[in-house]
Symmetry: C2
């Protein structure tokens, strides 16, 4: 079966707002084996909206609208869906009573327009809204020669997700043929997108029954795998087989198979080994510490971090000898080592990490260009320092550098 | 005039990818006075794609497609637009020759399918692609009873933006009636969305000729203002007038009128006052340092930062007396002050900032619940410490806390 999603609201046609609900809905629909064949974004315009719903009904088994259910004149979804389906709208007195009660509880007089939220498509089931005033609707019946499901959901993500989870997912599960979807999300570090695809394509193209989507960020590539079958075991088996083959190909670089973040994986290994970590950052300016501490429970292994932007602070917080900085420059292999060693000792941590580099856009020279970064990792016995030249702007260079550091720690731990 | 945007590619109908090009295009189209009336996202499916283009032509003056211009069998945009327009596709020999040259330069034999990229709509202008192999197309002619413009752009943002800037924007400017659009982006700190709207609505609703869009994040609300007129002066005047009224209403909270980030504004004031800053963070874990240093040139005023997660580190890096922590707890007004004072002295900075709190989801108690945060700011003469209870999850609490700290520094500087 297939579905179309229609996001409604003129604000979604400005440069400032974007529909994100459809990503969530697509994920849940895909889990039921329902494919999304089109997404449309329309404004609060009677003609465009009714037309969009009619055209979606022509193509798809399931049509989901998001937004336009509020009390104002701009909220046209109910009327337009009624027009497209060719059914009447009826005012539901129970909903009107509830709306009155809700306003009374807040000691506010309900204005007349609010009663529009009680208009229900003939034959539809009302979907109560735990988190807002506008109820949703579920309409399921024959339309033309085919059976259709039309679901009206509110626009705010917080209301929409709660309503879909509690009142739509199970209903849909009963309405669509049983399908099982197994997924994996393999993540690999420090490989470029084209290299990753070049190495992975000979493998995943052999799996015509597993869908592979590749996403890339700074210092990370994700393989999203998805297999579908009537048998849950078969779907799991296929996706597992491909995941295993890819993990073999990327034995060194793969760090997660279920979408875990690199900082989560590093935290997990640190805890497992009863180890702790401390970091001294220059060009990443706190990004590495921020990523490590974004994981709940990180206080168990993250001891401390310093952001040593100036030369003085490199000495004051991580005991980097001033002479070393004078001789080699602040962006050097030596200083990266010294930062790592210094912060490890100061914090009495198992691992010390030092980062120094040129994040740009200014400050680069022929000898030390923008993107040049040194990362040092030490456990007190063995120190490893790498030199890298990362691509992109300031944000991307900082992200790559923090990714490099995290992956070096991970490799020391596995 | 109005436009429709069609994003093409089956990957855009998965839960993992989203069209973001349309936000950029909408901004540029709006600047020319062109409204976007519908956005559609369709897969690589001949029937759906041709239908989407035909329906868009029925409604809009300008139809822009993004994606589906590559060499593979899945790249159907050229064929489907030709079908919708009812024109022929002709292979352009100059483009074929260029493609051959491009492959030869890389010493790779060109496969036959690549030549499909040279298929051009009859009457269309070819738009060379500086950043990839697939050229775009500009078709402008009568279709049915009306004049239409159809633009075919490549999908990758990096190729699309360069092509639109260099080859489409000016052409469009000549094709549409002259319109001037003036914009402002007012940002205010530490006010909730509903409070902000409650205070702002009586003002902006009086300006029926200025469009106001409100966006909210953790600790920040943005007002996007847009006025349009045939006279550039009039558009500027209207938007300026509303911006001034809003800035008066939010005299204390408004920090930017042209979309600057709070960390940029703080950096700007620090430089102007020849002042420097140092930070000691606990629950924000480096986020504040990371935001301050994300601004290019921040090394001029950011001296250093420490992430003191453990009690020992609070003492070791910011001289917080152990007894003070024992008596008041690490999450306390006293410790926030001591962190601010300690880091200021250590770094010999003009301002010192200290943050301590419970970011959650674990670690909260009845007395010190998740979301409780203390922020201290000192200049060595006067110390200010605030206690806040922020809403949301770990990420949002940390973001709010860093926003609180930045705004306290800003208020000290203005």
């Amino acid at each position: 079966m297939n579905a179309e999603i229609i996001a409604i609201g003129s604000e979604l046609l400005t440069p400032f707002r974007q529909d994100t609900n459809s990503l969530y809905l697509t994920r849940r629909l895909n889990e039921l084996g329902v494919e999304v064949i089109r997404k449309s974004i329309v404004g609060d315009h009677r003609g465009h909206l009714a037309e969009a719903v009619t055209q979606a009904l022509d193509r798809a088994d399931i049509v989901i609208t998001m937004g336009g259910l509020g009390p104002t004149e701009d909220d046209l979804t109910r009327e337009c869906v009624a027009e497209a389906l060719g059914v009447q709208l009826k005012r539901d007195n129970d909903i009107v009573a509830e709306l009155y009660a809700r306003f009374a509880a807040r000691r506010v007089k309900m204005t007349e327009n609010n009663a529009r939220q009680a208009d229900v498509l003939a034959g539809a089931i009302v979907l109560p809204n735990d988190r807002g005033s506008a109820p949703g609707q579920w309409w399921q019946d024959r339309w033309g020669s085919r059976q259709k499901i039309v679901i009206l959901l509110p626009g705010p993500p917080f209301e929409l997700e709660a309503m879909f989870e509690k009142q739509c997912f199970e209903r849909l599960q009963h309405a669509v043929p049983a399908q099982h979807i197994a997924t994996r999300e393999l993540r690999i570090a420090l490989v470029g997108e084209s290299t990753a695809d070049h190495r992975a394509a000979p493998i995943y193209t052999r799996y015509t029954d597993v869908e592979t989507t590749i996403l890339a960020g700074a210092g990370e590539v994700q393989f999203h795998l998805r297999a579908r079958s009537e048998s849950p075991e078969e779907a799991e088996e296929r996706v597992e087989e491909l995941a295993n083959e890819l993990e073999e190909e990327f034995a060194e670089e793969a760090f997660a198979s279920h979408g875990e973040k690199l900082e989560q994986i590093v935290g997990y290994y640190l805890q497992m080994r009863n180890a702790t970590i401390a970091v001294a950052e220059s060009c990443t300016g706190g990004l590495l510490a921020q990523r490590l501490t974004s994981v709940s429970g990180s206080s168990r292994y993250f001891v401390g971090g310093v952001v040593a932007y100036s030369n003085d602070m490199k000495t004051a917080f991580a005991d980097v000898p001033p002479l070393m900085i004078a001789e080699n420059g602040a962006v050097s292999k030596q200083v990266a080592s010294a930062l790592a060693e210094g912060i490890r000792k100061r914090c009495r941590a198992t691992f010390g990490v030092g980062i120094t580099g040129v994040a740009g856009p200014t400050g680069g020279t022929d000898e030390k260009p923008v993107g040049l970064v040194y990362v040092g990792v030490t456990d007190g016995k063995r120190i490893e320092v790498v030199e890298r030249k990362f691509p992109g702007d300031r944000d991307r260079i900082r992200m790559w550098a923090s990714q490099q550091a995290l992956d070096m720690v991970r490799r020391r731990l596995v």
